[in-house]
Amino acid sequence: MIPAAPLHASAGLRRRAEEMSHILPPLLAAARQLAATVQLGAHGRRRAGLGDEFWQYRAAHQGDEARAIDWRRSARADAHFVREREWQAAQSVHLWVDDARSMEFTGDDSRPVKADRARLLALALAVLLIRSGERVGLADPATPPRAGEVQLMRLAARLTAPAGEADYGAPEGRAMQPHARAVFISDFMGDPVAVETALTEAADRGVTGALLQVLDPVEEAFPYQGRTIFESMGGMLAHETRKAGDLRDRYLERLAERKDRLATLASRTGWQYSCHHTGDPAPGALLWLFHAMERLA
């Protein structure tokens, strides 16, 4: 007879595992599918270094070891040539995906919430990067950058963890390795000072990266009328107006101001900035992120 307790425990474990695997594959599959839209070419660093791929022949000069000379090439000419290989050192990329309540918003049931899109983009980027040999991790110390497919599972598990309690999120740059790459995906609706602090802190440590602002089309359009009380997703902030339609122009002005501020901040610290709307297809944003990573390198 099997004791009851272990049965329960194992059943619980199995149920949790099933739940977990139930959540993970869709996100991962979606991310892989999204990543498949980006055609990967040779992923070199476009400079000589340690690697397997041929980079160039150059004339041997003083200091080159004799065994570095490529005798086959040298035999075809009078001078000695050294065969150089492309530098293919892996990069560490830190992802930060805003998990605050504000990301749980969608203006229309037909569109995914912002957090879904952000997670999808982050994981798809991770798929692409890991496929090209980079190490990818999150910005928190719990998930340091690592290479390999298993890391994808870890990332997916971390990204699908329950959302935070805060209304608006702020990136943290403390766990980032120096001279790594970083990607911040958020709606950046919260306090811009926190973003600025994190970004300058990161820049100080030689970390460059990309800011992707994910917004819902409704947040860009502000199609509200009439007497309305606006509340933040967590309910911490509230604003009442008698005529919402009148606020539209001023709201849009402030939004543009916020975007401008982020763009300025990014250019000042050598980061890249872009805004993505959940109403638009995801591949565009993924392509931008991927190229941003390449540009930074």
Binding site: S102, M103, F105, Y168, D187, M189, G190, E219, F222, P223, Y224, Q225, G226, R227, T228, I229, F230, E231, S232, M233, L237, A238, H239, E240, T241, R242, K243, A244, G245, D246, L247, R250, Y251, R254, L255, R258
Partner: protein, 925 residues
């Protein structure tokens, strides 16, 4: 009840609520619309923004007005308003309700009926006894007063008839009024007639008389007459001082046999005139089609004038054998006298024989035509055998030709001798011959012979045993002058003289015209003479009802001709179409000389104009109005509060869907479904079941085919789609290969078009499994209701001879080897197409060499669908048998279904196994 003007209130105290309206105004005004709460992450950007202008937090005045109106409507509605509240009716004692109930009452009968019911209700509440009298259908004896409740079911007996009350009926009632004093309600049709005033006096002697009559002017049509090539239809009305117009339509059958309006005339009735005539000048073709005239928009028997065959003019084709007529010799033209005789009463057409036959005339007269080509002759014979009347006149050409000399010419009634003869001429002996009196069997019998008709030349008939029989007019010496012979339904008649005065003086005499008339060539006069009708009996074919509709007459007694001579319609002669032999007479609601006079009532009598103004409760409309206003208010409030945009999409979808539902043409939907059905049924194998109209049986049939489909899917390479219910009338059967048809005793028979479809389906390889679902207890007799129904349903189907399924039928081995075919019942065998008579059993073969092809029907009664039926979870819906044996039976039922579908889809290829030895031999094995 509080009564204000025309409106009364059942609960007037509720009206006090209206006083509270101003209070409501103030209250509503103070309450602003509630704000909406929205979750919006961008609120961080909104913080600190102030409203540029203050939207009023008071409700706008128009919204307030809307709400006030809604509340006011609700208050008024609940106060129970009634338009035209019934004034308390006075009077006590018995009430006699007298109705003219003629055709003139028909138009406003619904009002009159409402008035009667109102009177009965009032009488019931006052406890007054009531008697009902219908003057158009007088009953013998004294009207009996009874309680209003007992009288209520008899109101239908007061419904109007297509004729008018007779003077006798009125005087009879005046003489047989019940004892004692009573009040009278007279539902008059508004027309004056003999006896009315006397009856009124008699009624007034007994008590007060109230008259109800419609204020509308009564119009009617008198019988149509024919004059100068046009049809005259008199329009009658009660003379009024205003000019009026009436649209008179001539209705008839179009060439396809569909009744439709053939012509329409607008008649203006000048002020003060009671009569005008609609003149229809129509081509004969159209005129002959007319069956009735009616005043458009008036549905009474009086507004209908039926056309008997007196309006019909015969179409007669004249063919002249003389070729091109010589100019100036018209009097010698063979057809001149015929034209003169027939023109006033018939429509003559000419042309070539082929053209004429297309027009299908009533009769063709060929004057001295000797030769007819073979094709023309064939067509002519066809036409005669279908009832045509061919009349031929002899002449020099016919006499000179060889037509009908030795053999019987089908276009001549008798054989002719060569040459003919002439008497009394310069070169011949004897005197011109006069006529013999017509024999009794002759159609000319009774016509008076003028003394001056002589015949100088004639063609002679070959003596023949039939000759006497065929002769319908002869000369003094017994030689035939006119011979006739029946041919099919038609007749061929030969005048042995010419149609002009060349050979005889017959065409010059009045007798010629009379003979033509007797041959039914000439139209009869519009109204038959009394003498002509003497001794005839007329049977009603169709009768008019009071509302102008033609009904089947049923078994009405025959009407003696004497009664038809003065066709004043009454109980014994309802208006309609009467037939005697091949003649049709129309009896109209109005006699030809009828004039309409308005009934005038003495000043002492209360005449209710028009309708009894029925009580009209306004509660429902008012409450509906209040509800509608509140709905408008709801939408307006939402719009004001800015909440409408969110729902806009859903709402607009709903509105559009609703509108589509309301206006979508039915045909479009049918078309769509027909297309999708055809697409679905043809993209995969689909088993169909015929919809019987019994929801339960249809459900079982669908479930049964579903179960069979699943079995097929699991066990065979047939992968059928979901079964489909087939509406035989609407759906295209060509896309199905197998139909399951459960036969119920009360399912409607398909239409003839559907049978065409079904036969096409069966001929092109489809199969129907008829299932009487009665375990075939009757053994294919008609003893069970379903069996009888099956026989009725299948009678028009193109089904080959059937036999009980033989042991070696291919159905027994198309997939499984089976010998019985149980369903839910383990009944007897099933019936399939009989095998060919010559089928023989080959040496060493277990079965006969049967013909190819799929049996188009399989008939049985084992309720297979119930055995196959599975529910949504795939479990059997019905128990079959008991225990394992039952499951075995279900299994065999499934196997039968598999075999059946295999048989439909693969035909008889299993029968080809008989050829296997031969094939093997040919292969050299």
């Amino acid at each position: 009840m509080l009564i204000l003007g025309p409106i009364g209130f059942a609960a007037p105290w509720l009206l006090l609520g209206l006083v509270a309206l101003p209070l409501l105004w103030i209250l509503l005004r103070a309450v602003p619309p509630a704000p909406i709460r929205r979750r919006f992450p961008g609120v961080a950007l909104l913080l600190g923004l102030t409203d540029a202008e203050q939207v009023t937090d008071r409700t706008p005045w128009w919204l307030l007005l809307l709400r006030m109106l809604a509340v006011a409507a609700a208050i008024l509605g609940f106060a129970g308003p009634v338009l035209n509240p019934a004034a308390p009716t006075g009077g006590t004692g018995p009430l006699l309700i007298v109705a003219d109930a003629s055709w003139a009452s028909a138009r406003d009968w619904s009002r009159a009926e409402a008035r009667i019911e109102a009177a009965l209700d009032a009488a019931a509440s006052d406890g007054r006894p009531v008697a009902l009298v219908n003057l158009s259908m007088p009953e013998a004896g004294v009207p009996v007063f009874q309680s209003a409740g007992d009288a209520a079911p008899q109101v239908a007996s007061l419904s109007p008839r297509a004729w008018e009350p007779s003077a006798e009926a009125m005087s009879a009632l005046a003489a047989a009024l019940p004892e004692g004093a009573f009040d009278t309600l007279w539902l008059s049709d508004g027309l004056d007639r003999e006896g009315r005033e006397a009856l009124l006096d008699a009624l007034q002697d007994r008590g007060s008389v109230t008259v109800q009559q419609s204020p509308r002017v009564i119009r009617a049509l008198a019988p149509a007459t024919y004059a100068d090539g046009a049809l005259l239809v008199p329009v009658l009305r009660v003379a009024t001082a205003t000019e009026a117009q009436a649209d008179v339509a001539a209705m008839g059958l179009d060439p396809l046999g569909i009744p439709r309006e053939l012509a329409r005339e607008v008649v203006t009735l000048p002020a003060g005139e009671a009569r005008a005539e609609a003149v229809f000048d129509l081509p004969p073709e159209l005129r002959n089609r007319i069956t009735r005239f009616e005043i458009v928009g008036e549905s009474t028997a009086g507004a209908v004038s039926l056309a008997g065959d007196s309006l019909r003019r015969r179409e007669i084709a004249l063919i002249d054998g003389g070729g091109a007529a010589r100019e100036g010799l018209e009097l010698l033209a063979p057809t001149h006298y015929l034209q003169q005789a027939l023109e006033p009463s018939a429509d003559l057409i000419g042309g070539t024989l082929a053209d004429i036959l297309l027009a299908d005339p009533d009769a063709i007269i060929m004057a001295d035509v000797a030769r007819v080509t073979e094709t023309e002759s064939d067509a002519l014979l066809d036409w005669i055998s279908e009832g045509g009347l061919l009349i031929r006149f002899a002449g020099p050409r016919l006499a000179a030709s060889e037509e009908g000399r030795n053999i019987m010419d089908p276009l001549l009634p008798v054989r002719l001798r060569a040459g003919g003869r002439s008497v009394g001429g310069a070169m011949s002996w004897g005197e011109p011959k006069a006529l013999q009196p017509f024999p009794e069997a002759s159609p000319f019998h009774g016509l008076e012979l003028p003394g001056d008709v002589t015949v100088r030349a004639q063609v002679m008939a070959e003596p023949d045993p039939q000759l006497t029989e065929n002769t319908i007019a002869a000369l003094e010496d017994g030689t035939p002058l006119v011979t006739a012979r029946q041919s099919g339904q038609g007749q061929v008649i030969l005048f042995h003289v010419t149609a002009n005065a060349e050979w005889s003086s017959l065409p010059l005499s009045g007798l010629f015209v009379q003979m033509m008339e007797r041959l039914a060539l000439a139209t009869r006069p519009a109204a038959p003479e009394a003498a002509e009708l003497e001794g005839t009996t007329w049977v009603a074919e169709r009768t008019l009802d009071a509302f102008g509709g033609l009904q089947e007459a049923g078994d009405l007694a025959g009407i003696p001709g004497a009664r038809m001579a003065e066709p004043v319609p009454a109980v014994d002669l309802p208006p309609g179409i009467y037939a005697s032999g091949d003649r049709r007479l129309a009896v109209n609601a109005l006699a030809a000389d009828r004039e309409l006079m308005a009934a005038s009532w003495p000043s002492g009598i209360a005449v209710e104009g028009g309708a009894a103004r029925a009580e009209l409760p306004l509660q429902g409309p008012l409450l509906a109005l209040a509800l509608a206003l509140l709905l408008v208010d709801l939408i307006a409030s939402l719009a004001l509060a800015g909440r409408l945009s969110r729902m806009r999409r859903g709402a607009s979808t709903a509105v559009v869907a609703l509108a589509l539902l309301l206006i979508a043409p039915q045909g479009l939907r049918a078309q769509e479904t027909a297309d999708t059905l055809a697409l679905r049924a043809s993209s995969e194998v689909v088993l169909g079941h015929v919809m019987t109209g019994d929801a339960q049986i249809d459900r079982v049939a669908a479930a049964g085919l579903k179960g069979l489909g699943e079995v097929l899917y699991r066990r065979t390479s047939v992968e059928p789609g979901a079964p489909m219910a087939v509406n035989l009338e609407a759906d295209d059967l060509a896309v199905f290969s197998f139909l399951y048809w459960p036969v119920t005793a009360d399912q409607p028979a398909p239409s003839p078009e559907t049978y065409l479809k079904l036969n096409r389906f069966l001929r092109t390889g489809g199969m129907i499994l008829f299932d009487t679902r009665d375990a075939d207890v009757a053994g294919f007799g008609a003893a069970s209701p379903a069996g009888r129904k099956l026989q009725a349903l299948a009678a028009p189907l193109d089904i080959p001879p059937l036999e009980p399924i033989p042991e070696d039928h291919v159905l027994t081995r198309t997939f499984y080897l089976l010998q019985d075919f149980p369903g839910r019942y383990q009944g007897r065998g099933i019936w399939v197409e009989a095998s060919a008579a010559g089928a023989e059993q080959a040496e060493g073969m277990p079965f006969r060499n049967l013909n190819d092809g799929v049996t188009p029907v399989v008939i049985g009664g084992n309720d297979w669908a119930a055995a196959w039926a599975v529910d949504d979870r795939g479990l059997p819906m019905f128990p079959v048998g008991r225990g394992f044996a039952g499951e075995r039976q279900r299994e065999i039922a499934y196997r039968f279904g598999v075999n059946l579908v295999m048989h439909v889809l693969t035909g008889n290829y299993k029968s080809d196994q008989v050829h296997v030895p031969a094939l093997l031999e040919r292969l050299g094995q």
